[in-house]
């Protein structure tokens, strides 16, 4: 007869070993190393919590300071490889295999380590995809997570940065894994229970908050006239005609410009209430003027944003907040919302090729995906109609039966034809292909596939790829907005002009926009200070963004 309780028994052994170094559920910080050695086994699948925002940094350092003689060959399954400790773990041989989603600040080092064979790569995922695999074939044996506070029973309060925690805990704890949380402090009673104590086995009091990166703060002072022009084109040429009310914005200055143009330019176009009413979006500081002027009905957040806590708490009509008043974020739910309940994703990218594939990878950096490919894709499982979705579907397949026609999610890539240091946005061949070749990957890391992208917006105009009827048309539509890049200058001018006549390409003048009107005075806020003042002092920007 089989023993059907082997995992529970093994868990019991680990917990017993862990309790040797704990008082109840509380692990004293000096014992952290010995404790981790006791509960983690070589070859374990370990989820070290951290994404593009919050980080279980104390636990990451503790794990990295173990000796490979004690623990080795771990398989790390985690959203973000962001802290240097995350890679030290591989450098030391404590971990060997990696499945992840995002690597922002470590993108160059992770590439070097992949080339050097220090890391055995499983795959680079989108957030939602990795979360899904936690429940199928990448379930962690141990989860090292981060929260704001805990009580002695292990009930956790995550504050506004709940983010990935419920997902990680759900997958680990209910499948006989060990959950260890670092918290800023242990309290008698937590302000609200984000994670029930039953699911949390151990708690470490860090005596300082976990690290959070203010990734979604864009200083309005850095927005250029060209970015404003692209924002005007997007608002008048896409938001308005499709009536986009439910959407997600990527991070970047182009979308920040859009957010800051809503109360000024958008208002002038009479779009208030007709576009941008519901968002799957982090609390971008650049959203403050639009929220304050009554544009936005509702925002659900993946995570929080540093400095926005008090503002969000004071705007519970717009944001999701708990009984304690603070934001409740949830990355898995928000990613799902971004995929299924939004009609548009708009974001910037680094490279777009002639087919319309786009990528943020360069040959020496692997930045990962985060959530953009999920948001920036057309959900085949969607069944509910909406005006923009149906309209986009009709543009893509005009001659078909409307009742049987799929709608299309609007997936918009926005940017200037030349990026930093005059590097062109448009390329013959994505650097991602070269990277895939060098690393012998089956898939090139493409952020948004060409069959998902519907529009490309640059300062030269908008290319509507839904209306292209052939590969050649698509290429010329892309060349036709590629400005003075090599790709743009090699356009077939006659064909581009024909596409323009058909409305596939729209120039600023076709939309009644004078590029000379793209002025910074159009921005509802021109500095972080303006944002702070617009929030009535509720937004408290991090020091590095201040100039007062």
């Amino acid at each position: 007869m089989s023993d059907w309780g082997m995992q529970k028994a093994a868990l019991g052994e680990r917990l017993a070993a862990g309790r040797q170094h704990a008082k109840g559920k509380v692990v004293p910080t000096p014992s952290l190393g010995a404790f981790l050695k006791a509960v983690i086994r070589s070859g374990d699948r370990v989820c070290l919590e951290g994404d593009n925002q919050k980080q279980a940094d104390i636990l990451a350092s503790a794990l990295a300071s173990l000796e490979p003689g004690d623990v080795r060959d771990l398989h790390m399954v985690q959203s973000g490889v962001v802290l240097s400790a995350h890679l030290d773990i591989f450098e030391k041989g404590i971990a060997r295999r990696l499945d992840f989603s995002y690597s922002g600040p470590q993108s160059a080092r992770i590439a070097r380590m992949l080339f050097g064979g220090k890391i055995e790569l499983g795959a680079v995922h989108t957030y939602l995809e990795l979360f899904a695999r936690y429940f199928i074939d990448l379930t962690p044996n141990v989860a090292l997570i981060a929260a704001v506070s805990a009580d002695k029973d292990g009930n956790l309060y995550t504050g506004p940065n709940t983010e990935d925690t419920p997902t990680v805990v759900e997958a680990t704890s209910y499948k006989n894994g060990v959950v260890v949380a670092q918290v800023t402090e242990i309290v008698d009673k937590v302000p609200r229970v984000d994670i029930p104590g039953d699911l949390v086995h151990f708690v470490v009091e860090a005596n300082r908050p976990f690290y959070v990166e203010p990734l979604f703060t864009r200083d309005p002072a850095a927005i250029t006239e060209t970015q404003i022009l692209t924002a005007m084109l997007a608002i008048k040429g896409i938001y308005a005609p499709y009536g986009v009310r439910r959407l997600n914005h990527g991070i970047g200055f182009n979308t920040a410009a859009i957010e800051l143009l809503l109360p000024t330019y958008g208002e002038k176009l009479g779009l208030k209430g007709k576009v941008c009413t519901h968002f799957a979006l982090n609390p971008h500081p650049t959203m403050i003027p639009a929220i304050e002027s009554g544009w936005v009905e509702q925002i659900h957040c993946f995570g929080s944003e540093v400095g926005m806590e008090d503002y969000v708490a004071a705007r519970s009509d717009v944001f999701f907040t708990g009984p304690d008043g603070s934001l409740r974020s949830n990355r898995a739910f928000c990613q799902t919302a971004g995929l299924y309940a939004c009609d548009m994703f708009i974001g910037s990218t680094l490279q777009i090729d002639l087919e319309g594939h786009s990528s943020t990878v360069t040959t020496s950096r692997i930045a990962g995906f985060g959530g953009a490919p999920n948001m920036g894709s057309d959900p085949r499982g969607r069944r509910h109609p909406s005006e923009p979705w149906l309209k986009a579907g009709a543009e893509a397949a005009p001659g078909t039966n409307a009742a049987l026609r799929r709608g299309r999610k609007l997936v918009v890539q926005i940017g200037e034809t030349f990026g930093e240091r005059n590097t062109p946005l448009f390329v013959e061949r994505l650097d991602a292909l070269e990277l895939a070749r060098k690393l012998d990957l089956d898939l090139a890391p493409v952020m948004v596939y060409s069959d998902d992208v519907t529009h490309i917006v640059t300062e030269e105009g908008i290319a509507n790829l839904l209306m292209c009827r052939s590969k050649d048309e698509r290429e010329q539509a892309i060349r036709g907005v590629a400005g003075y890049t090599d790709i743009g200058r090699a356009r077939d001018a006659k064909l581009v002009e024909q596409l323009r006549q058909r409305g596939v390409i729209q120039r600023p003048e076709d939309l009644g926009i004078d590029p000379l009107d793209a002025d910074r005075n159009l921005l509802a806020a021109r500095s972080i200070k303006d944002l702070m003042l617009a929030s009535g002092g509720l937004y408290r920007p991090p020091s590095r963004f201040r100039n007062w």
Partner: protein, 304 residues
């Protein structure tokens, strides 16, 4: 009869270019430039370093009217080489101040500078010295020399020493007035003493609010060209002297500052000593509330 036509352009001083600032400051259409860009009096030294030149070498000088009154104006362009003083740049301001003395016309200096331009450091340093001397000579002849500080580059290095010779200083929150820049202090003293990337620290140590509170600047205005214009009009109505009595008063004023605040570790302590209720909130206050809170600030009237 001169016609007074107030300009109504609304413009962020911090963001504006030197030329935009002048246009917004003076009576509409009244400005005429001396040695304009069409004369291409560029720096003869930047090409040695293969650096781009600007036709006006980063400073616009000329004559306009402010509320009907003729005034000589110099505006530095903080985005070109950080608004730094080179040979030509500096000589344009020196000439303007000497002209002010000769013609008995007041001067406005729109500072926006990181100090001396290193690629022509000796010429820049001497220009600073010549300008300071020219300011004092003009002031002793009864001329007002008013400094306006609120640009991107701040007013650093030798520029801050010139500002110290002015009869009156107008500053906005964005304005910074300091000899050594944040990076220089960090390099010399270590990041423990001064973290140059901590912008809140930079501003509360060198920024407009702090400078106004300790009496290093006389007027605090919004980051708005019209606010600078109004303050400049008022400043020109004052009659600044520059004699022994004024310097004696300044000596007492600066000695008192050392006595009152010399032990402070941080600006917040100084603001506390000034009797400001919740000093840590001060940086976030909008202008009106700040000016009310600043009621008991140190002043420099007749002591500058």
């Amino acid at each position: 009869m001169s016609q007074v036509a107030a300009n109504t352009v609304s413009l962020s001083w911090y963001e504006a270019s030197a030329r935009q600032r002048i246009d917004a400051l003076v009576d509409a259409g009244s400005f005429s430039e001396f040695i304009g860009p069409e004369l291409r009096e560029i720096s003869p030294h930047l090409s040695i370093f293969d650096l781009p030149e600007q036709f006006d070498d980063g400073i616009v000088v000329g004559r306009g009217r402010l509320d009907g009154t003729p005034v000589l104006i110099a505006a530095q362009e903080g985005r070109f080489m950080g608004g730094a003083f080179g040979e030509v740049h500096g000589a344009k301001l020196t000439g303007l101040l000497r002209a002010a003395h000769a013609l008995k016309e007041d001067v406005l200096i729109l500072f926006d500078t990181g100090g001396v331009r290193l690629q022509e450091a000796n010429a820049g340093e001497l220009a600073i010295a010549e300008i300071m001397r020219a300011v004092i000579e003009a002031r002793r002849a009864g001329i007002n020399v008013v400094g306006l500080i609120g640009g991107r580059a701040g007013c650093y290095g030798g520029g801050s020493l010139i500002a110290g010779t002015c009869s009156r200083l107008i500053i906005s929150e964005q304005g910074r007035l300091s000899v050594s820049g944040p990076e220089v202090i960090e390099t010399n003293r270590g990041i423990e003493e001064f973290d140059s990337r901590d912008r809140a620290l930079v501003w509360r140590t060198m920024g407009g609010k702090h400078r106004y509170l300790i009496g290093a600047a006389d007027v605090f205005v919004d980051d708005e060209a019209l606010a600078f214009r109004r303050a400049a009009i008022d400043a020109l109505k004052m009659h600044g002297r520059c004699d022994v009595a004024v310097l004696e008063a300044e000596q007492a004023r600066l000695a008192r500052r050392l006595q009152r605040f010399g032990e402070a570790e941080d600006a917040v302590e100084i603001w506390q000593t000034l009797g400001i209720g919740s000093p840590t909130d001060l940086p976030a206050l909008p202008t009106g509330a700040f000016l009310r809170a600043a009621n008991d600030r140190e002043t420099a009237d007749d002591a500058r």
